[in-house]
């Protein structure tokens, strides 16, 4: 039995973040166990009209190359995916991505609520949702969806966040299973990895 009471039924990890989350994401990706068995699906707020650079910056230290999926691209185990600039990123039944240019939500495109909400719908209780630092309420509703479908919810410890609006908003609207510092999130993912060995 692991200290987080984990098992190997999970099918995906989804991460949302905004202002102040970059360092945390880099740390998570750089300390990810080699051959991590689940896809990691990320929606991070970013400059709307800068198409290049972000995925490269995240990939430098990452164990796995980060990619911005094409519309209708299949989700692979162990893939690390980032929502592209100026598109909302959804997951569809059948395990592939769908992109869209719908109106902004919470002033954001990509919107974290959309990525979290659709992954919750597809993966249900087989999903782990992680919400990091951010100056916006985006993601709170998505975390609520994850919880309601039986998925596991984690937010970054607000005191560790550069801006704590986002995790606090999630804590206010739904049950959060774990409040963790980034180091603990890394530990958690390592524990999770062991369940699949």
């Amino acid at each position: 039995m692991s200290k987080f009471n984990l098992n190997n039924s999970y099918k995906a990890v989804v991460i949302g973040g905004s202002a102040g989350s970059f360092q945390g994401v880099v740390k998570i990706l750089s300390q990810l166990p080699k051959g991590f068995p689940l896809p990691i699906i990320m929606c991070l707020h970013r400059l709307k009209h800068v198409r290049n650079g972000f995925v490269e910056a995240l990939s430098i230290k990452s164990v796995v190359q980060v990619t911005e999926p094409y519309d209708k691209e299949n989700i692979k185990k162990g893939g690390v995916y980032l929502a592209p600039a100026n598109y909302h990123m959804s997951v569809e039944l059948g395990n592939y991505f769908a992109l869209s240019t719908e109106e902004m939500i919470n002033n954001s495109r990509p919107a974290i609520d959309i990525t979290l909400g659709t992954t919750a719908y597809v993966y249900r209780d087989k999903l782990i949702g992680i919400l990091l630092s951010g100056a916006n309420r985006d993601g709170a509703l998505g975390m609520k969806h994850i919880h309601e479908k039986g998925g596991l919810t984690i937010v970054q410890e607000p005191t560790e966040c550069m801006i704590d609006t986002m995790p606090k908003a999630a804590l206010a609207v739904t049950k959060i299973d774990h409040v963790m510092k980034v180091d603990q999130i890394v530990e958690f993912l390592k524990e999770l990895d062991k369940q699949y060995r």
Binding site: R51, S90, S100, E102
Partner: protein
Amino acid sequence: MQDIDIADLKRISELIFQKYNYDFRNYAMSSFKRRVLRIMELKKLTVESLIKKLNDTPIFINEFLDELTVNVTEMFRDPSFWRIMREEIIPAIQLNHKQFKIWHAGCSSGEEVLSMCIMLKEMGILHDVTLIATDLDVNILEKAKSATYPVKNMELNEKNYIRFQGTASSLKDYYKEDSGYAVFDKNLFMNVSFRKHDLVLGDVFNKFDLVLCRNVMIYFNQNLQNEVLKKFHESLFKYGYLAIGSKESLIWCDYANRFIVVNNEEKIYKKIKD
């Protein structure tokens, strides 16, 4: 926020197909669902009352389609795409056909067409080009024809134009401001005809040197993308060009091997086989 299950979404798309002859049955589920929920919220309708309204009130369909489709667009979206158009694609077309034809499929409120016309004018060849701009949504086509946009949208359009490095110092050279609206010079549209056309059920209607269909097929599932690509293939002259959105891909379509990639970053393809 209400929720809606797949069975009800299917009832709605089936009803629209049977009664109004629009086929959303092969649209991507996640965005179709959000659009329907959005309409229910906007119009304060439940699933049952929405279905009833679609059944009983035929005039509701245009408004429904207008809300269902995603019309978000901008001028000179992806400025690097437009630079490649100006510097490589259009000159390549002109080597073969001094006068040529462009189809904007899914033109929405017209920003993409207007960008094209401004670019062609700056290249001094606007009079050599025939443009056809189509969309399913008749309300949005009316907006497109008016070439009039809220001034608040112009900041983004202007930023894109500057990154495109057009020859004018500002888009202001092309429009006049009138009570909060940017009204563009209608002469830019002298060779454009706007028409209603449905990519799913509509026929191939002409042959083109260049087809732009950007950020439209992302709303379709893979089967439908495949079918629509066949229509584009038929609508292109041999060695004609097809441009899709920067995050779209043709690789999983049957007809992909009848095209070559001309520019992968900007997703521009060329038809090489009939």
